[in-house]
């Protein structure tokens, strides 16, 4: 049986005035039907670029997909025509965007925006599409859904707008939902609500979810597996509990150590020193070498490949076996 989503060696470059930005350098992962994956990384790690590539929404002409394949339900999305993309986007793969304040059209009512997409994909008439739009608003927990269809986005709060965006993404029962940091623009109590909402909807609707975030803290109870990205590379991939218990890459360990924990109230958080390498220069060494406490000569000579360290667990580090023996601070006891 083929996977629902199979990304192989995806390479994305950006042409800028300063030169070529190596945004994504050959990442691979796969996702089964109904499975959920978190892609974790800091700003500029390439996680959002990788997600936009899945939607065929990379900014043109600056962005180029240099190599690799994205297979979805067995077909290669990267060779799709514009027409085929229009049938894929919103219908089979849908996305929830980062900023709910700017991602809805201010000049169209919420009902128009929802029912337009429903009519386009599901080929139903206007009353039926409005009916479904109201059902979707109620599904994402907006009170008085029917009455709010004729409201404009500015009449909704930030959290409600994010709910509307989620409703929009779910409007045609996609098999894959990409959530690109959907909580960053919201305050913390709303963040938790959104996470619970997506978690619940995922179970209810049985869709696969790619959750993109910079916050390793939010993914623990949310996804089946985690991929960690650093400087355009995938540095570690593991089932979520293995990753927390036995990280095999120094960067992942660093991320875990910089998370606050409730058990160690007085522990100082340990930041990762330094900053990521310049994405304008292609990597000739391990991209994390300059910030790494575990660095050896070999790391500076050639970048390590992603290799298996345990069943379903792989890391791109020459010393992953050593790192792996060192449990994260938060999980020490």
């Amino acid at each position: 049986m083929t996977a629902l989503l199979e990304v192989r060696d995806l390479v994305v470059r950006f042409d800028t005035d300063d030169g070529t930005v190596h945004a994504v350098n050959g990442i691979s992962y796969s996702l089964e039907k109904g499975e959920s994956l978190a892609i974790v990384g800091e700003s500029g790690s390439g996680k959002s670029v990788g997600a936009l590539a899945l939607m065929g929404l990379l900014p043109r002409p600056q962005a180029r997909i240099e190599g690799g394949t994205i297979h979805f339900k067995g077909r290669n999305l990267l060779t799709q025509s514009g027409q085929e993309w229009q049938r894929t986007r919103g219908r089979e793969i849908a996305m929830v965007y980062q900023d709910p304040m700017t991602s809805l059209n201010p000049a169209l009512t919420v009902g128009q925006q929802l029912s337009q997409v429903i009519r386009h994909h599901l080929n139903v008439r206007k009353p039926a599409s409005r009916e479904r739009a109201a059902d979707l608003l109620s599904l994402v927990g907006i009170p008085n859904p029917r009455g709010r269809l004729d409201d404009y986005p500015h009449q909704f709060s930030g959290g409600q707008r994010q709910r509307v965006l989620i409703a929009l993404a779910l409007s045609c029962d996609p098999a894959l939902l990409i959530a690109d940091e959907p909580t960053t623009a919201l305050d913390v109590t709303i963040q938790a609500q959104m996470i619970e909402l997506v978690k619940g909807l995922r179970k209810q609707l049985g869709m696969a979810v790619v959750w993109i975030t910079h916050d390793l803290g939010v993914v623990a109870g949310l996804v089946d597996k985690v991929a960690v990205m650093y400087s355009g590379n995938m540095v570690e991939q593991a089932p979520v509990h293995d990753l927390y218990r036995q990280p095999a890459h120094p960067y992942t360990l660093g991320l875990l150590n910089s998370l606050p924990t409730l058990e160690h109230g007085t522990r100082r958080l340990t930041p990762i020193p330094g900053s990521p390498p310049d994405p304008l220069r292609p990597a000739t060494a391990c991209p994390f070498a300059r910030r790494c406490a575990w660095v050896v000569d070999r790391c500076r000579e050639s970048p390590p490949a992603l290799i298996r360290v345990a069943p379903q667990h792989s890391a791109a580090c020459y010393r992953s076996a050593d790192v792996n023996r060192q449990p994260a601070v938060g999980a020490q006891q």
């Binding site: 929404l57 059209n105 000049a107």
Partner: protein
């Protein structure tokens, strides 16, 4: 709601128009010469006769009295009589207003019909050959003086190639009927409308392009695209509706500009409209006619601004009339 808002704005326009009327009245008086200057230069007209004329038109009253007399007439529908022809000003103007309004309206429509598609196409194909070509042509259009453009058109299409009539609105030698009359009118209007529309089209195309480019980069356009909507819907509906808000202001402000631009156009093509009347009256210092035309222009500015604000509210739901 829109109704009370429009009424409120109209009431607010009254003091504004009042102020404008004082300014234009004083500005005209400040211009050198006067309605009787040409008479004073002629030996055949005696100083006593000049004095009588001056008294007859009330030109020897103090300025505030002259102004109040004129203002009183303005609001009661008596706009005075032309010093030149002795006809009532309101009649002279209403005879010619339709021609100029038609010319302005046609030029405005042509500008919109050309500038909007060109601007949208240029924005959606940024840095393409079409974008560069339309940008180049727009700048050329903005930089071209309309009197020169008009003369060039006349020279080429009328005198060199004899394709289009050079003057007037109709062929005075023949009485055309039916389709021939329409065709006759059309051929007479092509060049004046082209001259009048040139700068407005060029300007508007730049604004449409800039406004579209700004909107196309917005997150909600990506959302629309990411929902799988056809590119046409994304561009025209999701981007277009938002991009049109700033364009509406610019476009509506262009209407009075076009109206005043008709002065030059009508002079070049000998069209009997307000423009030609204005030039003629200015030469004679025919104050009542000049003031009448300026008042109409001022009212036009107020109306187009109001229309722009009303259209705003229809396009952008965040604007309320409360």
């Amino acid at each position: 709601m829109v109704g009370p808002y429009v009424v409120r704005r109209m009431l607010q326009a009254i003091p504004l128009l009042f102020g404008i009327s004082i300014i234009i009245f004083l500005m005209l008086q400040m211009a050198p010469g006067g309605p009787l200057a040409s008479g004073e230069a002629q030996a055949a007209i005696t100083p006593e006769k000049i004095e009588r004329l001056r008294a007859h038109y009330g030109l020897d009253d103090p300025l505030p009295i002259q102004y109040l007399n004129w203002l009183g007439g303005l609001v009661t529908g008596d706009w005075g009589v032309s010093y030149d022809t002795g006809q009532p000003v309101l009649q002279v103007i209403t005879e010619r207003l339709p021609t100029t309004l038609a010319l302005t309206g046609l030029a405005f429509a042509v500008s919109l019909l050309i500038a909007i598609p060109v601007g949208i196409l240029a924005a959606t194909r940024q840095y393409s050959v079409f974008d560069y070509a339309s940008t180049g042509l727009s700048f050329a259009g903005i930089a071209t003086p309309s009197f020169w453009f008009g003369l060039m058109l006349l020279y080429l299409f009328s005198f060199q190639w004899d394709l289009l009539p050079s003057a007037g609105l109709t062929d005075l030698r023949e009485d055309h009927v039916g389709f021939a009359a329409v065709w006759d009118r059309t051929t007479h209007l092509i060049m004046p409308v082209a001259v009048l529309a040139l700068i407005a089209t060029a300007n508007l195309a730049r604004y449409v392009r800039a406004s579209m480019l700004e909107v196309l980069g917005q997150d909600y356009v990506r959302t629309a695209r990411g929902s799988g909507l056809p590119e046409r819907t994304v561009i025209l509906q999701h981007a277009g509706k938002n991009a049109s808000v700033p364009v509406v202001t610019i476009a509506m402000l262009m209407v009075p500009e076009l109206f005043l631009g008709a002065v030059i156009t009508e002079t070049i093509f000998s069209i009997p409209g307000m423009g030609a009347l204005f030039v003629h009256s200015a030469e004679l210092r025919d104050y009542p006619v000049l003031l009448g035309i300026l008042v109409i222009a001022a009212v036009l500015v107020v109306i187009t601004n109001l229309v722009a604000d009303v259209i705003y509210g229809l396009l952008d739901p965040r604007i309320s009339y409360e």
